[in-house]
Symmetry: C2
Subunit: 236 residues, 2 copies
C-alpha cells in the first residue's frame, strides 16, 4: 500500500486533475468539519450533507425539510438554522439527515470526488479508518488534510501522522514522512498539539476550548463515514 499525503489547499486544488480512479482518499478536517460528521454518524444520523454556503444549505433544506441544519458565521448562530458548528451539537442528529456548512472540509471532500472511495476521518474514528484500510487494502491511499484558508493545519498533519502510524505503508511521499515525524514529536499528546494549533488557539479565544477537547479524543467511535456519488456521507 502506497500512502501519500496532501496537506495544503493549494495542493488540494490539483486533485481534480489527478487520476484517483484506483485511489482511496481519506479526508481530515479535525477542527471541526470531519469531527462533526463522525459525531453525527456515530449517533445514528442517516447521512451528512456538507455544503459551502448558507444559500446552498437553505436550498438543500427545501428538498429535505426534515434535515437538521447546522452552521454559523463568525461564531454567531444563523437565523433558521437548528444548531451551530460544535461537534457536540451533532449528537442530536440521531435518525435524521444533517446539512452542515463548512468551507475547507467541503472543498477537500469535493476535490476527491473522482476517487474510488472517499472516507471522512477524524481523530475520533482514526483507528476504525485504519482497520478499514488494512482490510480493504487499496493499492493507493491519499490522505488529505483540509487545512485552513490557504494553509496547512497542524491538527490535520498530526491526524495524518496518527493514521500513517497505524498503517503498514510500503511506500509514501515526503509529506507522509513529515506527518509521521509530527506524530512522533507529539508523543501521543493529541490534546496539547491541538491546543497549540492555529485553529485550536482561535477556538480557545472564542471560548470554544470544549470543542478542541472533543476533537482531540482518539478512536471514541468506530464509524467509517463514506462519501456517495451524491456527495452525501453515510456510515459504511
Amino acid at each position: 500500500m502506497t500512502v501519500d499525503t496532501v496537506l495544503t489547499p493549494a495542493e488540494i486544488d490539483l486533485l481534480p486533475r489527478t487520476d484517483l480512479s484506483r485511489t482511496t482518499c481519506v479526508v481530515f478536517d479535525v477542527l471541526r468539519a470531519t469531527s462533526s460528521i463522525v459525531t453525527a454518524l456515530a449517533h445514528g444520523a442517516r447521512s451528512v450533507h456538507p455544503v459551502l454556503t448558507i444559500e446552498e444549505a437553505l436550498a438543500l433544506r427545501e428538498r429535505m425539510p426534515d434535515a437538521l441544519l447546522g452552521g454559523e458565521r463568525g461564531g454567531d448562530p444563523i437565523p433558521g438554522f437548528d444548531v451551530g458548528t460544535s461537534p457536540a451539537e451533532y449528537v442530536a442528529a440521531a435518525g435524521r439527515r444533517v446539512i452542515t456548512t463548512t468551507t475547507n472540509g467541503t472543498v477537500a471532500l469535493r476535490a476527491c470526488a473522482g476517487a474510488a472511495r472517499v472516507l471522512a476521518a477524524a481523530l475520533l474514528n482514526v483507528d476504525a479508518v485504519a482497520s478499514d484500510l488494512r482490510r480493504s487494502a487499496p493499492q493507493h491511499v491519499v490522505i488529505v488534510g483540509a487545512g485552513t484558508f490557504r494553509e496547512a493545519a497542524l491538527e490535520d498533519v498530526l491526524a495524518a501522522g496518527v493514521l500513517l502510524h497505524a498503517l503498514d505503508a510500503d511506500a509514501m511521499n515526503d509529506a507522509s514522512r513529515a506527518a509521521l515525524a509530527v506524530h512522533a514529536a507529539t508523543g501521543g499528546d493529541l490534546m496539547s498539539a491541538l491546543r497549540q494549533s492555529r485553529n485550536g488557539r482561535a477556538l480557545a479565544a472564542q471560548g470554544r476550548g470544549d470543542d478542541v477537547a472533543w476533537c482531540a479524543r482518539r478512536s471514541v467511535w468506530d464509524v467509517v463515514p463514506t462519501m456517495g456519488a451524491d456527495g452525501a456521507i453515510r456510515s459504511r
Copy 2:
C-alpha cells in the same frame, strides 16, 4: 518576529501575488540547488546565477563567457558545460561567476522576487542565516522549501525546522510548527533524515550518496547568500 513556512510548489505559486515588501524570504533547496550555491560562494565564487533551462544557461554564458557553467540532464553531463550539479564540484568556482541550471530552486527564488530580502540557505550555512535574521530582526520571515516537482521535500521541511529552532519566533504558522516537530523527531540526525527522503533515496540509487552526505552537514560555512535585483546571488 513572525516566521511562516511554505513547503509546497503549489503554495510557492501563490507568493508572487503576496505582499512580501516587508518580508525576508529564506529559500531552502537542500538537495541540491541551495547547497551548491552555498558551496560556491563559500569557496569564493563572485556570484551565482540560477536559471531554469539549458537554453537560458547558454544564453547567459554568451554574456558572461568567463562563467563556470553547471548542469546535467538525467544524471548525464551536458555538452559544453563545465561541471554537473554535485555541490562538491562548485569548490572550483573560486573567483568566478557561476551559472547553474535547477528547476525547483530557481522557481522558488524567483517567486520571492518581491521580498525585501531573499536569502539562499542550506543546512551547510543554516546557523549563519539564523544569526543574520536575529541581528537584522525583520518583522516577518517566510521560509520557503523549494520541494520537488509538485510536492514538499522532507529535507527542506527538516531544514526549515532547524532554522526555526535556532530563531526566537514569537508567532508562526502551522507549517512552521510542523517543521519544528519534524526537526524534533529527527533528534539532530540530519544524515538519516536526508537518506530517508525521496530525493536522498533517488540520489543514492544513482550512486550519488556522497552528494547527500555533503548536504547533510550543518553549518560548515558562514556565508549568507543574498539575491540581488538582477536575480544573481552574492555573498553578503
